[in-house]
């Protein structure tokens, strides 16, 4: 992963700062909405690892989000007290195992076959939860209590409190971003990017590309599971709709709109799309047409997304700066 230029880094820190003070000044509706967006951002960041860095276009990533959510719901729906650490460990190992199995099969294919196979698995999981009478079917499952985040009987944050939950999710989002930046700056990350650029050549250099792709798939799946876990804990409700292929499609849209291969772009894209979904219905009842038009416009005019535009702007300003420095000499 390339080093993020200073001014863009500064811009991101400013955004984090704004997010940190928002609940103190903003109203409760938007605090809750932003909590939801940040959870989705964790999900889309993990998808960016696949699409933007490894070159694996997964069209079934929502499955792991849903599986994470269902792990919490199935094992703890009636629990009076949910031990956060135990629930989190269980969810993450569960989604890691699921993504290991699905990934192991899917990475054997490439191109459109990979896209379709990930879609097929996601559909299988969707119908599994949708039709199964044991797991709530199409009604979904309610979870009766919030996870209890304590160390040595000392409650750290009260997840029933909307503000606490907000900061809890913000911390998770920043942590996931930093973790993936670290992974991508390590030699492992460089190999992923190289696989995206030219898999044949990486294989010729003696790397087992299948192994790297699989590890990337499992990391992304597990983080998506984390996001699902947080969503289920936030709303205390899970539904098979979490796994639908529309969710996977919207997630791809968020990543591309924000800008692939930058991690923070996925977050920007998620914010942009959810705010559009929130604002457009106020303008017209038929806002989906506008949404569709925006998607098409992105493809035609903004293929590198918002982050790409930021990078171009930065490059442009730099060039101007250099020209000015030359003139001064």
């Amino acid at each position: 992963m390339k080093k993020t230029p200073g001014p863009i880094m500064l811009f991101l820190l400013l955004c984090i700062g704004l997010l940190a003070i928002f609940p103190l000044v903003g109203d409760d509706f938007y605090t809750e909405l932003i909590t939801k967006i940040m959870i989705l951002s964790i999900f889309t960041i993990s998808l960016d690892l696949l699409i933007g860095f490894t070159g694996l276009i997964s069209f079934g990533h929502a499955a792991f989000f849903g599986i994470g959510a269902y792990f919490l719901a199935i094992f703890f729906q009636d629990a009076e007290q949910i031990n956060y650490w135990w629930a989190l460990t269980l969810t993450l190992s569960g989604t890691a195992l699921a993504s290991l199995i699905v990934g192991w099969i899917c990475i054997r294919t490439s191109g459109i076959y990979f896209i379709m196979l990930t879609l097929a698995f996601a559909q299988m999981f969707f119908y599994f939860f949708f039709e199964s009478p044991h797991f709530g079917g199409d009604d979904g499952i309610f979870i009766s209590s919030k996870p209890d985040l304590s160390i040595a009987a000392e409650e750290l944050v009260d997840l029933g409190n909307e503000h606490h939950f907000y900061y809890f999710v913000l911390t998770w989002m920043v942590a996931v971003y930093l973790f993936l930046s670290m992974v991508l700056r390590a030699p492992f990350g460089y190999i992923l990017v190289a696989i995206k650029a030219n898999e044949q050549r990486v294989r010729a250099l003696g790397y087992s590309t299948q192994y790297y792709k699989l590890v990337s798939f499992v990391i992304a799946g597990t983080i998506a599971g984390l996001a699902g876990f947080l969503e289920a804990a936030h709303t205390s409700f899970v539904t098979p709709a979490y796994l639908s292929w529309h969710e996977s499609g919207i997630a791809i849209m968020m990543v591309v709109l924000g800008g692939m291969g930058t991690l923070f772009g996925a977050v920007i894209g998620t914010f942009a799309v959810v705010f559009l979904q929130d604002l457009l219905p106020a303008i017209t009842d038929h806002w989906q047409i506008i949404m569709g038009g925006i998607v098409i416009a992105i493809v035609l005019f903004l293929p590198n997304g918002i982050a790409g535009a930021l990078y171009s702007l930065h490059a442009l300003l730099n060039k101007k700066g250099l020209a000015k420095a030359d003139a001064d000499d």
Partner: protein, 288 residues
């Protein structure tokens, strides 16, 4: 549950398979020749179903309805290819997925504006309204047989066009080596427009034919889209023969899955697809 019950299920499965074939054959050609992943293909099925419903309502007869709806579908396909799809030929799969996803959103909303969110039914024409009595209490509707026969006729027609005509020759050549066809001086732009509009019309026709059986409702295209992709991928992308075998496999697996394993019926087809791809990652008749 006697043997005639299973015979009816078999006929239903084959009929569903034929309809899937109409949708999937266009999809597989569009991918094989043009290299486009067309997520909006299900929307064309939906457009066909609604146009069929609309024109049948206007004229009072399904056959004239279909005759009027077909040229409209052809026109829609041509316009979409010229203004949207043609921008995608040199682009990555990711952008194709995204742009055609945008088309789905627009098509679904347009449907809602024009025809609302209600479920509509299309009457079966008088001449085809009856049913065959198989045994004392098992009957098979004539209209379903009509669907199967129409599909066989269309499939044979397609076979003739693709195997025996000059256009078919270019299509086959395009599917196996696009660059070479271009180098030989074939007008690829025109070929793409023809293939896409034909694919759209086939999908729309499938929507029209199935409208009296399945009713017409919003989101009708979404399910058929995903299932058609399953068919195409099982059969091997770009292969018409593969699409046919795949469509029959899925049609039968889905129908018998609903009878024998009602609790996991919808999973069966996806499990079948996963199994085929583990065994042959390029599909049954695909080239590696």
């Amino acid at each position: 549950m006697d043997s005639s019950f299973y015979l009816i299920q078999l006929l239903n499965g084959i009929q569903y398979g034929f309809l899937l074939f109409l949708v999937a054959s266009g999809l597989t050609l569009i991918f094989g020749i043009m290299g486009i992943i067309n997520l909006a293909h299900g929307s064309f099925y939906m457009i066909g179903a609604y146009l069929g419903f609309w024109f049948t309502g206007l004229t009072g007869n399904l056959f004239t309805g279909i005759l009027l709806a077909l040229p409209v579908s052809l026109g829609v396909g041509y316009l979409v290819e010229r203004f949207a799809i043609s921008q995608l030929y040199a682009r990555d799969h990711l952008y194709q997925v995204l742009l055609t996803y945008g088309l789905i959103l627009i098509a679904n909303e347009t449907q809602r504006i024009l025809w609302g969110s209600d479920v509509h039914s299309v009457p079966i024409p008088q001449t085809l309204a009856g049913s065959f009595q198989l045994t004392g209490n098992q009957a098979y509707p004539v209209y379903r047989l009509f669907i199967s026969i129409s599909c066989i006729v269309i499939a044979l027609g397609m076979y003739w066009v693709i195997q025996k005509t000059r256009l078919g020759m270019t299509i086959r050549a395009g599917a196996s080596n696009r660059e070479m066809v271009q180098i030989l001086g074939i007008n690829v732009d025109r070929l793409f427009a023809v293939v896409f509009s034909m694919g759209v019309t086939l999908a729309a026709l499938a929507g029209m034919l199935s409208a009296p059986v399945n009713t017409v409702y919003p989101g009708i295209g979404d399910n058929i889209l995903i299932i058609s992709f399953v068919v195409v991928v099982i059969g091997g992308i770009g292969s018409i023969k593969g699409a046919f075998i795949g469509a029959m496999l899925i049609g039968l697996a889905d129908t018998f899955g609903k009878v024998l394993l009602p609790e996991m019926a919808s999973m069966v087809v996806y499990a079948l697809m996963a199994a085929v791809l583990i065994w042959r990652p390029q599909g049954l008749f695909g080239r590696a």
